[in-house]
């Protein structure tokens, strides 16, 4: 599973999963803290649809953490103020970067979480689509 999909599942899914996966690593390996979870900003670059040019939409407040396992760096970063989750994400990222054997068994749990996210998204869509307008042509007298 690639990093984009993995981080998406861990951030949008239950925080318990990230906690559980990070715990597996912390209990077994030496995790060196490189950068304590700290606040910062990410500037958002946007493509507008009129001339299709680029501009800056504004910044988003983030929490970022960096750790090292077996000399491999891991980054945990997410929108908002969540030092705990940022740390868990960093540990999981470092575990993948270090190719730790535990990571090979995580695929199933991540895919299950993805299914749960999809279910919630489906439910959200159902509710929103109830507001879709059904036009009826009026009879001309």
């Amino acid at each position: 599973m690639n990093r984009r999909k993995r981080t998406g599942i861990l951030i949008n899914g239950s925080t318990e999963l990230a906690e559980q996966l990070a715990k597996e690593i912390v209990d077994k390996y030496e995790v060196i803290m490189i950068e304590e979870p700290n606040p910062g900003l990410v500037m958002m670059k946007m493509r507008e649809t009129s001339k299709r040019s680029l501009f800056y939409l504004g910044e988003v407040f983030v929490t970022e953490c960096k750790v090292q396992i077996n000399r491999c760096l891991g980054i945990g970063i997410l929108k908002g103020n969540d030092p705990k989750l940022a740390h868990h994400l960093a540990v999981i990222d470092a575990a993948y970067n270090a190719g730790l054997i535990e990571t090979f068994k995580w695929e199933e749990a991540l895919l299950l979480q993805q299914q749960e996210i999809n279910r919630k998204k489906q439910s959200f869509s159902s509710a929103v689509l109830k507001t879709k307008v059904n036009f009826e042509t009026m009879d001309v007298q």
Binding site: L41, R47, L54, Y56, V60, F61, S126, V128, L129, K132
Partner: protein
């Protein structure tokens, strides 16, 4: 009269700040930040948009501290933002990836994917709901339960994350020229001061962080006659945009290797503006131009106003103040405009005294010359 430098007022200032707190808590009620965040969506979105900083919780704290005054809350957030480091730049965000929760067009009834009203006050009666005075959390939770049951799980044919754009439809139909990606790196007005003529990226950045009221008033002026535009909303969408950053250790900036950091809510509009173009042999033809608007949160009036002003500035008709980029871009920022206007109440003793001196001197000279002329007679 000489000038005298004065100091003092420390105690008065300290007591004034105490009174400010007194005014906030004097009724013995303390607003819960979480309740502000969840119950004041409109104000939160406005403050985030004008601060150019997406964080609901920070906006809620700022609103609490500012006692609901948006200009003060924006000032607080901009000040806090300046203490944080900018860690990354996002990958390019595209509104084609928006998970839409509201999407309408005022130009076309039958748009691909349909008109989705989402949450809007557009069709409410605007009658004050006195029942809200007695609303309890228990009641709200009960209502929520019923709402969720009512919606249930349905098989959706429309994918809200892949709604086609109205503009793409028009481009495909040949009603609007095709447009290829312009990948030039944008300018950043927070890093380098604005210079004229401005670039498109500077204009859009200033407009999107502009004060809602200022943008709305100027856009209204454009339509009323100070710009002669008659725009229609081609498409307005509200939804969540995914934000990702590149892996700093991957030089190829591969999307699959990027970090997803979360999603932000935004409102985007594409305004269609009819323009008459003269063809050969005096033949006239109508074509459509686009005004683009987007802002953080659900701020529909602001996004529409931005689209109108984007087009007015793109056209740059100096006949109207709204076509003058210096006039528009220098006056719509909340912190700059409210900061300047409100600074007028800060002590100006020296500058005012110097003006007073000039007036006294002139009066004295006038009196002396009057006296001299009466003596000559």
């Amino acid at each position: 009269m000489g000038y005298v430098a004065v100091k003092g007022g420390t105690r008065a200032i300290e007591e004034s700040i105490k009174r400010l707190k007194f005014e906030r808590v004097k009724k013995g009620t303390v607003l819960d930040v979480h309740k502000i965040e969840t119950g004041m969506r409109g104000l939160i979105d406005q403050v985030m948009s004008e601060s150019s900083l997406f964080s609901e919780i920070l906006a809620a704290i700022a609103i609490k501290q500012a006692e609901g005054n948006p200009e003060e809350a924006v000032f607080l957030l901009r000040a806090y933002r300046s203490t944080l480091s900018r860690k990354h730049y996002s990958r390019t965000i595209s509104s084609e990836d928006m998970l839409t929760e509201r999407r309408i067009s005022a130009s076309f009834k039958d748009i691909p994917g349909g008109q989705i009203l989402g949450a809007t006050t557009d069709y409410t009666h605007r009658l004050l709901d006195f029942g809200l005075m007695m609303e309890s959390e228990e009641e709200a939770l009960q209502w929520l339960e019923g709402f969720e049951e009512e919606n249930g799980q349905q098989e959706n044919v429309t994918d809200l994350a892949k709604l086609p754009k109205v503009l793409d439809y028009l481009r495909k139909e040949g009603l609007m020229p095709e447009c290829s990606d312009d990948d030039r790196e944008p300018d950043d007005v927070t890093k380098k001061s604005l210079e004229f003529p401005s670039t498109r990226s500077q204009r859009l950045q200033i407009l999107t962080r502009g004060q809602t009221g200022a943008l709305t008033s100027l856009a209204y002026a454009v339509i009323r006659g100070y710009g002669a535009l008659h725009p229609t909303v081609g498409e307005l969408r509200v939804g969540s945009l995914p934000v990702c950053i590149d892996n700093p250790f991957n030089q190829y900036n591969d999307e699959d290797d990027s970090y997803y950091i979360g999603e932000i809510k935004a409102t985007e509009t594409e305004m269609l503006i009819p323009v008459t173009v003269e063809k050969e042999r005096g033949k006239k033809e109508i074509k459509f131009e686009i005004g683009y608007g987007i802002c953080l949160g659900q701020n529909e009036t602001k996004a529409i106003a931005m689209g109108i002003l984007d087009h007015a500035l793109q056209t740059g008709n100096k006949e109207y103040p709204t076509g003058d980029e210096e006039f528009v871009l220098y006056h719509i920022d909340s912190v700059e405009s409210t900061g300047f206007i409100s600074h007028l109440k800060m002590p100006h003793y020296v500058t005012f005294q110097s003006k007073l001196d000039s007036v006294r001197k002139t009066k004295k000279q006038e009196a002396e010359s009057k006296e001299e002329s009466s003596l000559c007679k």
